[in-house]
């Protein structure tokens, strides 16, 4: 394996053994259960998994935005050495405005419906920078143009409901980038966007990473999208990280059976596959997860050991007792 140049860069986000529980109707759900990973400056990391795997909860917990039903039950989240899990709400808010930008899945929820689009962007700029009104407005126009909003100056005076879903999403991305943050956490930010716009947004993130050392944690269910612009991929399953690695390897020869199944279930633009891989069954109940490997009931390679011994003990290596050898399948 060749070392990516990113290995030399300083760690910006260091998530250590993060545990998040959500109070659900059936009891306490371990939505994020001992999750550890790092994001370096200028690095783009894809956090990939299917619904319910805990990727969104992990991201929300990282920046102190858990819903009232959820709480951090253990672990640390270090941003440039500062532990975010120990901060007060007002301190977190300052960090979210200036150092970390967050793009939620649903932009409609992120925007205030009764405030003009321009004000929502300039408000952030004026709270966290020294820009005056007209400079903030000019910067807002630049931001909107950068994320592909047509006729940006005209959009500033409109309200969110006057924009299409795709445009609202781009406004949310512009707000997250407004104060030139060190880290952007984006939760499926481009799912609602057209393919051509999606490519434009991911290229913008890649350019900011290269030019300004912006670090990006990009949460997605779409392995092909993640493959197109990230440096590293982390795969989550049932509240845990099962494998992580450099993007080229994770999208050609992942070693964990779940990561591999996910890859072979993904349709290809390059060629028609004779048959897509499927994964039978459903993820386990996270109120009382099984003691061994959480993927064991759905895994072809499982042995009795997988039912009793938790392969999370193997992390940061691949969390599997019988991993594939890493050769392209």
């Amino acid at each position: 394996m060749n070392l990516a140049p990113n290995e030399d860069r300083a760690v910006l986000l260091d998530v250590q053994d993060l545990r998040v529980v959500i109070d659900g109707p059936a009891g306490l759900v371990s939505a994020s259960d001992g999750v550890s990973f790092q994001v370096r400056r200028g690095e783009i990391v894809g956090l990939v998994g299917e619904s319910g795997c805990g990727k969104t909860v992990t991201a929300l917990a990282t920046i102190g935005l858990l819903p009232p039903s959820g709480r951090i039950a253990g672990g640390r989240v270090l941003l440039g050495g500062l532990d975010l899990t120990r901060m007060r709400e007002d301190e977190l808010r300052e960090i979210r405005g200036s150092r970390v930008g967050y793009v939620p899945q649903d932009a409609t929820a992120a925007l205030n419906p009764v405030v003009r689009v321009g004000e929502q962007i300039t408000e952030v700029l004026r709270a966290h920078t020294s820009l005056d009104r007209s400079a903030a407005r000019a910067r807002a126009i630049d931001l909107l143009r950068a994320v592909g909003v047509p006729a940006p100056a005209r959009r500033l005076d409109g309200y969110p409901h006057q924009l299409s879903g795709g445009l609202r999403q781009r406004v949310a991305i512009a707000i997250a980038l407004a104060c030139d943050p060190e880290l952007v956490i984006a939760d499926e930010p481009t799912t609602a966007l057209d393919v051509t716009t999606q490519a434009q947004v991911t290229e913008l993130l890649a350019r900011l990473a290269a030019e300004r050392s912006l670090a990006v944690l990009f949460i997605s269910h779409d392995l092909s999208l993640v493959a197109s612009f990230t440096d590293r991929v982390i795969v989550m399953y049932a509240g845990q990280v099962v494998e992580e690695g450099p993007t080229p390897r994770m999208t050609s020869a992942p070693r964990h059976p779940y990561a591999r199944a996910l890859l072979h279930a993904t349709p290809r633009l390059e060629r028609k596959l004779p048959r897509l891989a499927t994964i039978e069954g459903r993820p386990p109940d996270l109120v009382s997860p099984p003691p061994g490997c959480r993927f064991e009931p759905r895994c072809d390679r499982a042995t009795p050991r997988c039912r009793t011994d938790d392969p999370q003990a193997l992390r940061p290596a691949v969390a599997c007792w019988h991993p594939f050898d890493g050769v392209s399948a």
């Binding site: 716009t197 999606q198 434009q200 269910h221 092909s224 493959a227 279930a265 028609k272 596959l273 897509l276």
Partner: protein, 331 residues
């Protein structure tokens, strides 16, 4: 067996009045679907693909043009035409949550089209529902459940079983997998492939996703601003696309195996179906546009079954790649 194609649409246009303006959702579309043929219509939001699908299956009347199913004109205003079409065309929508009545059991949801079309007696219908559940890979015991108790993938299977109830010749699938997780999406795409192996079933598959479409379609139409700008067999389209918009779309789509080589950026702003540009509707965003493109509607160039509505069709030339530079020029 009649010689006419299964579905034939000629000169379809659909315009809506929006205040004082006119929104043109579909603008002169010709499309034929053969018996047992899987055709996909691909486009981005606002391309008119869903409106076209609704017109083709008689859910909406076109402002212009006509649709023939098995040689007979489809007339959405006639109850007889709607009923006979309803028996021969099944429809599956994107949202597996919204398309099923939450108060009906799964079995009852699948049985409903049978009841509407007075198909068999109660016991024959029960047998048919069990058959259909099996055909879509669901446990017959699931029939007693309500949609609420099902996963997204199971719901979409129920929607497909229901669409298949009357043994239709055409299944119209409007973004049927875009709300599903990857592993579940794979199950549904495999199921759609299996269903066509077992019977003569044509598909009209509406999607924005060129990778998904590759798994199911034999022929692909690319729509832009209400028009089919290119239509070709799947191999032709993925291997030798010739319309600049198709080339841009293919170059923007993410590939699992390695990063995009060079994305062809679209110029300017996304189009508005209300203020349609003159000449070729794509010309304001086209990397190849010349003076003529803004003036004259392109004539359709035909090469066998490959049709392209462009004055300057063809693959991306090395000179064009150099001129456009690495993707992202428009950001």
């Amino acid at each position: 067996m009649s010689a006419s194609p299964l579905l034939e649409a000629r000169g379809i246009a659909k315009r809506y009045r929006v205040g004082r303006a006119v929104l043109t959702a579909v603008d002169g579309v010709d499309l034929t679907i053969g018996r047992g043929e899987a055709v996909a219509v691909v486009g981005e939001s606002g391309s008119g693909k869903s409106t076209l699908a609704r017109i083709l299956v008689g859910l909406e009347a076109p402002s212009q043009g006509e649709v023939r199913f098995d040689g007979r004109i489809v007339d959405p205003t006639s109850r007889g035409s709607r009923l006979s079409l309803g028996a021969r065309v099944g429809v599956v929508f994107q949202d597996p949550y919204g398309s099923l009545n939450p108060r009906l059991s799964v079995a009852r949801a699948i049985e409903e089209p049978l009841i509407v079309h007075r198909w068999g007696d109660a016991s024959a219908r029960r047998r048919r529902v069990a058959e259909l559940l099996e055909a879509v890979g669901l446990d017959p015991d699931l029939g007693a459940r309500r949609p609420r108790g099902l996963s997204g993938g199971q719901r979409q299977r129920v929607a497909i079983a229901r669409a298949l109830a009357l043994d239709p010749e055409l299944l119209v699938l409007d973004e049927p997998v875009s709300a599903l997780d990857v592993s579940v999406q794979a199950q549904i795409l495999n199921l759609l492939a299996d269903l066509r192996r077992a019977r003569t079933l044509a598909y009209l598959f509406i999607s924005h996703d060129l990778a998904v479409v590759r798994q199911v379609a034999e022929r692909i139409a690319v729509m832009y601003l209400g028009r089919i700008v290119e239509i070709a067999s799947a191999d032709e389209l993925y291997g030798a696309a010739a319309h600049p918009y198709t080339l841009a779309l293919l170059s923007s789509a993410a590939e699992v195996e390695g990063a995009r080589a060079s994305r062809i950026p679209l110029q300017g702003d996304p189009p508005s179906p209300i203020e349609r540009p003159g000449g070729c509707p794509f010309h304001p965003r086209c990397f190849r546009a010349r003076e003529r493109c803004g003036r004259e509607d392109p004539v359709v160039a035909t090469d066998g079954s490959h049709r392209v509505a462009c004055w300057y069709p063809g693959p991306v030339e090395p000179e064009e790649v150099r001129r456009l530079g690495p993707g992202g020029r428009d950001v």
